[in-house]
């Protein structure tokens, strides 16, 4: 259907473009990367792009750690340090953890719910292109000064970009403009993908997959997507106000003209705390898939894990002031938010206990994905507990803005999110490459990363308790901080080594890895019922779901004592009433046609943003590009065949 072409009226540009689309449709050539609509292709693009940003953010981290290895080091000057610090934080939050989670949303959600694609494939491509555009735009700020003489043009206000430091008066140059507009662009990408996944999950589940039969990862994707669509508008408003202050001399945050710098902190953290859970809930979802598979047991207390995830989603809106205890909001506000912050530890603790109970009594296969998932539980617990210690308001007056806080959020975001994302790589990558990652290299990667991680961040608890402020570009000796900083820096390079091993593993396994087959891990969910890599239509026949963990129930049944026993070979494939239906090798399956209009539309945003900074004429150009993209997108036939 989609590949039948009218042979008349083929001329010029339209002909060329149509030919290109045909190529893209056949999944070959450069055009298949420019006009993708397949969720798996877009997921891979998200993953690869975010990993490249991960390397950039990691190199930034190594530079920072090298500067701090000894007191009074001269590796970076103060200005360079502040700019690289800002880019490290912004990159890791917006360009690494969020898009890596998005990569897994893309790759896994349709497969896990038994769908052939997301609800809006072209909107999905649009999300990716806008993310890429925003990421490049943000990093382009480095080059707005003479980088070769050591002057960096990147923003210097920290990833929180507090007002009034972010104002034109105190951050001259274009760094903060690039930051505000770049994060704004990235927000558009997140919003589009948030809506897309909500609609996909609510509307496109296979028959029989009720909400309470959904895999936990899909649940966490849903909760995260709701958090995204509610949180992103908050930061969007804050960023617009910042942009207006900087570009048009508005006074939202200017205390001299009746504005209020604290307003920024309220809005930033009203977004920022749900954002923390946007970063961690997908990781919790990944781990909730891996632990049951490698324990050969269902997730313990599925409803509790689901509801605690939802509870976290709601409660995350009521704790933002714990970032602002020391701003002088008063004792009543601090008490209320202190208590709510203490309480948000509870649903998280429930999840940890459920994960442990999932493993208890299981038959644990300690392959690399499992090791990373267990590493997540172990490290995230430490981050959660240190979080409880500084939810205590008066004691946080001591820890606020010290390395103790840096240690805490790295235990959550690195020990938590990054460990879980690597667990996801080892677990799910074979589904898309068709090749297993090498387990021995994976084990080396895991242990090196675990040791390096703890060597980097555990000492930060101590340097923090010894009073070392975060975000200082140098420090004097005699404060008792020297040894702990030295250890942290050694640990950072250990982590870097482990990442190199991971990259070697990926390249090695792509070339000569063991074939993965359909179901390398004795999986429980629908993605393991289809080939690796999956055909572009995913499921030849949309599966019918009869239980939670549907694939497990196809493979195992129970004897009279309730002990699981394997189903006799051959009986596992399909149900008797389906056996007579035809298998057409994917022919006749209606799939969306490729489109390059999302890319064109996405290009409009960085052009407009550049125009806002340098020349308003470019804003019109960018708007025109965006309009052309959306116009063409809107009028494009869903499939080429229908055009004739």
């Amino acid at each position: 259907m989609a590949t039948e072409w009218p042979q008349t009226r083929r001329t010029g540009l339209a002909d060329a473009l149509r030919g290109a689309r045909e190529m893209a449709d056949q999944h070959y050539g450069i055009w298949s990367w420019i006009a993708p609509v397949d969720h798996k292709r877009i997921g891979v693009m998200y993953g690869v792009t975010a990993f490249i940003f991960f390397l950039a953010g990691g190199i930034e981290a190594l530079l920072l750690r090298t500067q701090l290895i000894v007191p009074n080091a001269g590796v970076l000057n103060h200005d360079q340090y502040n700019r690289i610090l800002t880019m490290h934080g912004t990159t890791m939050v917006f360009l690494v953890i969020m898009p890596l989670s998005a990569a897994f949303f893309n790759l896994m959600t349709p497969l896990m719910i038994g769908a052939r694609d997301v609800a809006f494939p072209r909107l999905n491509a649009f999300s990716y292109w806008v993310f890429l555009a925003g990421g490049i735009f943000l990093n382009a700020s480095f080059f707005t000064k003479d980088i070769f003489s050591g002057e960096l043009g990147a923003p210097d206000c920290g990833w929180t970009c507090y007002s009034t430091l972010s104002s034109k008066a105190f951050s001259p140059g274009h760094g903060v403009d690039f930051w505000a507009l770049g994060v704004q662009i990235l927000g558009i990408a997140s919003l589009a993908s948030g809506f897309n996944f909500i609609v996909t999950i609510l509307n496109m589940r296979a028959p029989g997959m009720t909400l309470f039969r959904m895999p936990l990862f899909v649940w966490m994707t849903l909760v995260t997507s709701f958090l995204i669509i509610f949180a992103m508008p908050v930061i969007a408003v804050a960023l617009f106000e910042l942009i207006f202050d900087r570009l048009f001399n508005a006074n939202f945050f200017n205390p001299d003209k009746g504005g209020n710098p604290l307003l920024w902190q309220h809005m930033f953290w009203l977004f920022g705390h749900p954002e923390v859970y946007i970063l961690i809930l997908p990781a919790m979802g990944i781990v909730s898939e891996i632990l049951p598979t490698f324990s050969r047991k269902p997730l313990f207390g599925y409803p509790f894990v689901v509801f605690s995830g939802i509870a976290i989603g709601f409660m995350s809106w009521g704790v933002w002031v714990h970032h602002m205890y020391t701003t002088g909001l008063g004792t009543v506000a601090n008490s209320a938010f202190g208590i709510s912050t203490i309480l948000i530890g509870v649903p998280t603790g429930v999840k940890v206990l459920n994960w442990m109970a999932t493993m208890w009594g299981g038959s644990l296969s300690l392959k690399a994905p499992m090791m990373f998932a267990v590493g997540f539980v172990a490290m995230f617990t430490i981050g959660g507990l240190s979080g409880v210690t500084h939810s205590v308001v008066p004691s946080d007056y001591q820890q606020q803005d010290t390395y103790y806080v840096v240690a805490h959020f790295h235990y959550v975001l690195f020990g938590g999110a990054i460990f879980a994302l690597f667990a996801g790589f080892y677990y799910w990558l074979p589904k898309f490459t068709g090749k297993l990652l090498d387990d021995r290299l994976g084990q080396i990667h895991f242990w090196l990363m675990l040791i390096g991680f703890n060597l980097t961040f555990f000492p930060m608890h101590i340097s923090g308790l010894l009073g070392m402020p975060r975000r200082i570009s140098t420090y004097s000796e005699g404060q008792g901080w020297d040894i702990w900083n030295m250890l942290s820096t050694i640990g950072a390079f250990t982590i870097a080594t482990s990442i190199l091993i991971f990259m070697i593993n990926v390249i090695y396994s792509l070339r000569r890895g063991e074939a993965a087959g359909y179901d390398p891990w004795d999986g429980r969910t629908l993605e393991w019922t289809i080939p690796s890599p999956p055909p572009h239509y995913n499921f030849e026949k949309i599966p019918v779901v009869h239980a939670r963990d549907p694939f497990w129930h196809e493979k195992y049944t129970e004897d009279e004592q309730g002990r699981p026993i394997p189903v006799v070979a051959g009986a596992a494939n399909g149900h008797p009433d389906e056996a007579h239906e035809e298998h057409g090798g994917g022919h006749g399956i209606h799939m969306p046609s490729p489109s390059y209009f999302p890319l064109i539309a996405a290009l409009g945003f960085p052009i407009m943003a550049t125009g806002l900074i340098y020349d308003y004429a470019l804003v019109a150009v960018g708007a025109a590009v965006l309009f052309v993209g959306i116009y063409g997108w809107a009028l494009e036939p869903a499939t080429e065949g229908e055009e004739a």
Binding site: V75, L76, N77, T164, K297, T326, N354, G361, I462
Partner: protein, 286 residues
């Protein structure tokens, strides 16, 4: 947990010893961490020399020790689970336990009660005490943060040369601005900033509080005894944020009065402040 008792197995001895050893090392490291309160470094948050900091240290300990115990229990349980239930040849597929509702309700409610009872409730009186207005007889000082130095104004001391309240002399980044206070007396500080956000952190006396342009943030602190206490700006404020240092000099009432008299007369003021240690400027960012 009834699903577990039937299939308990003991770990293999050798790997068990290895893991137990690792676990013990972690424990020792943790206990060492717990003892850093005893060390005497200039900005140690766990070595209080004033009432506010002592309250903060006590509350931190109240939260940290249970957190450490929970951490050891969880990490230990993870290790035991990994050893005990590691897959072996000819393992049967385990029983498919889906959950245990009473158990799960229990481990939702019990931690809530514990955490509120042990941490939340004891926190509140301290929070309200530290957050109260300074007493009427507290010694007032106005603290102003600016890029990149702190300045202190003493409303109770009149500068003989200008007739205005005494102000501390300017300092350059990397040199500490000196704040003189009477020891053993409550000090009422009013924090503000003339430019970006700063945070006034003197860990051994009071932790940190923010100085924000347009706000007048009041809080109190008290030094137990005469001494000199280091601090620095905790909120990223720009290129020389690293060098916005503070030294609080607490003196006995007589010494403080003597200093105030001399300072008001314009003698013995150190124009560059006290140099706490050789902080070398690392390149120049400005």
């Amino acid at each position: 947990m009834r699903m577990t008792v039937s299939n308990l197995r003991l770990p293999r001895p050798r790997s068990a010893h290895l893991l137990a050893g690792i676990f013990l090392l972690i424990l020792i490291a943790l206990v060492a961490t717990g003892c850093i309160g005893g060390t005497d470094t200039p900005q140690n948050t766990l070595a209080p020399e004033g009432e506010v900091a002592r309250h903060q240290r006590n509350l931190f300990m109240l939260a940290m020790w249970p957190a450490l115990v929970v951490m050891i229990l969880v990490e230990g349980a993870i290790i035991v689970t990994l050893l005990r239930f590691r897959r072996r040849k000819n393992d049967a597929v385990p029983k498919q336990t889906h959950g245990n509702t009473p158990l799960e309700i229990g481990w939702t409610i019990v931690p809530t009660l514990i955490i509120i009872g042990f941490v939340g409730v004891p926190m509140l009186p301290v929070l309200f005490d530290l957050g109260r207005d300074p007493k009427a007889d507290a010694y007032p000082i106005e603290v102003t943060g600016q890029r990149f130095q702190w300045s202190f104004k003493y409303p109770n001391i009149k500068d003989a040369r200008t007739g205005e309240p005494l102000e501390s002399p300017p300092v350059t980044p990397g040199r500490a601005a000196e704040l003189h206070i009477p020891a053993g007396k409550e000090i009422a500080l009013t924090l503000t900033s003339i430019d970006v956000n700063h945070s006034f952190g003197v860990p051994r006396l009071a932790g940190t509080q923010d100085a924000i342009a347009g706000e007048h943030h009041r809080f109190w602190m008290k030094a137990d005894h005469p001494g000199s206490f280091s601090g620095q700006c905790r909120e990223l404020c720009g290129v020389d944020h690293w060098g916005m240092l503070i030294t609080v000099i607490a003196q006995s009432q007589e010494d403080f009065d003597a200093w105030a008299k001399e300072a008001a007369a314009g003698v013995k003021q150190t124009p560059e402040g006290r140099v706490p240690s050789a902080v070398a400027a690392t390149g120049s960012g400005d």
